[in-house]
């Protein structure tokens, strides 16, 4: 195999890697894991802040934990988790968000509707690597 072909292969692989990470943050996986753990904290404020942080980080890796947080007993946590999922635009979250459309809390239902609209707006099952920033304010 000629050297030029090897170089080309490396360049193609590298660019594929770079492109697949376009829009993603350079956040250590340990941060995402630790924050996903914090979604199960005994304190609601900790869970709420963790959901907010995961929404900033936008890692696909955190979607399962955020979907689980949609069943949180605290409505503020549910709302923040929906906001985060909407920012990540994971098609995986559609079922969970559809269920949240029947939440007892108006704010939660509204957030779920907005998050779903964002996911559908990004083109069906293909998650948009460059989502528009969500105008939701920081919780604190």
């Amino acid at each position: 195999m000629p050297t030029s072909a090897k170089i080309l292969a490396v360049v193609v692989l590298a660019s594929t890697f770079v492109c697949s990470n376009a829009g993603a943050q350079t956040v250590p996986a340990a941060t995402v894991t630790a924050l996903a753990d914090a979604l199960k904290d005994s304190d609601a404020d900790v869970r709420r802040q963790a959901a907010w942080a995961l929404g900033r980080i936008r890692s696909e890796q955190s979607v399962d934990a955020l979907i689980a947080a949609l069943r949180d007993s605290d409505q503020e946590v549910r709302k923040q988790a929906i906001w985060a999922i909407g920012r990540i635009r994971s098609p995986k979250a559609v079922d969970a968000l559809t269920a949240a459309l029947k939440d007892s809390n108006t704010e939660v239902r509204r957030s779920a509707a907005q998050a779903l609209a964002q996911i559908y707006g990004s083109g069906g099952g293909n998650p948009n690597p460059n989502p528009n920033p969500n105008p939701n304010p920081r919780p604190r």
Partner: protein, 180 residues
């Protein structure tokens, strides 16, 4: 005689601090760092027995910047100070003029001052995450998030296991703020 209302006390202190800010030569012009003599006055006031003075100095504008590093130890000490004063004392926080009236503490004001000083505060703030005072740990976690320095990620992940819930919440916030 009725006692002086706290907000009046706050306004008086703010006026006093404005006068003080003008007295510090050329700092507002950003051309000249405060001299060692000025800074020692500031540090002395950070130790005042009056919380209004402590907050007022810590959030005085144009006093804390990269050249105010000698004030770091006094500000770090102040991080555990949770004595609340009227928000008007802190003139920097314009949002509170229209928003909810929340008291401010010397610890919070010190955290902001440390962020204004910048990366020179970093090491001391990380050390404060192990302080025996939960208030200090929480204010340090906030400051590390506001400093937006990637090196804080590992210590903040450790703080997600802090014994105090308010510290854990602030650490989670800080991790999101840094990742932003």
């Amino acid at each position: 005689m009725a006692p002086i209302a706290p907000w009046r006390r706050g306004l008086a202190a703010a006026a006093f601090l404005m006068a003080f800010a003008f007295a510090v030569p050329d700092v507002s012009a950003g051309q000249q760092a405060p001299s060692a003599k000025d800074l020692s006055t500031v540090i002395e006031m950070l130790h005042s027995p009056d919380p209004v003075v402590r907050v007022g100095v810590a959030c005085a504008r144009n006093v804390f910047n990269a050249s105010s590093a000698p004030a770091i130890p006094a500000l770090i000490e102040l991080l555990e100070d949770a004595e609340p004063v009227a928000p008007e004392v802190c003139r920097e926080d314009h949002r509170r003029w229209w928003g909810e009236e929340q008291p401010i503490t010397p610890g919070e004001a010190a955290a902001r001052a440390l962020v204004h000083i910048g990366s020179a505060s970093f090491e001391s703030l990380v050390k404060t995450l192990a302080s025996p005072s939960a208030v200090a740990r929480r204010n340090a976690a906030w400051a590390l998030g506001a400093l937006d320095d990637q090196r804080a990620v590992t210590p903040l992940i450790r703080s997600l296991k802090d014994g105090d819930a308010s510290v854990r919440a602030q650490a989670a916030w800080a991790l999101g703020a840094i990742a932003d």
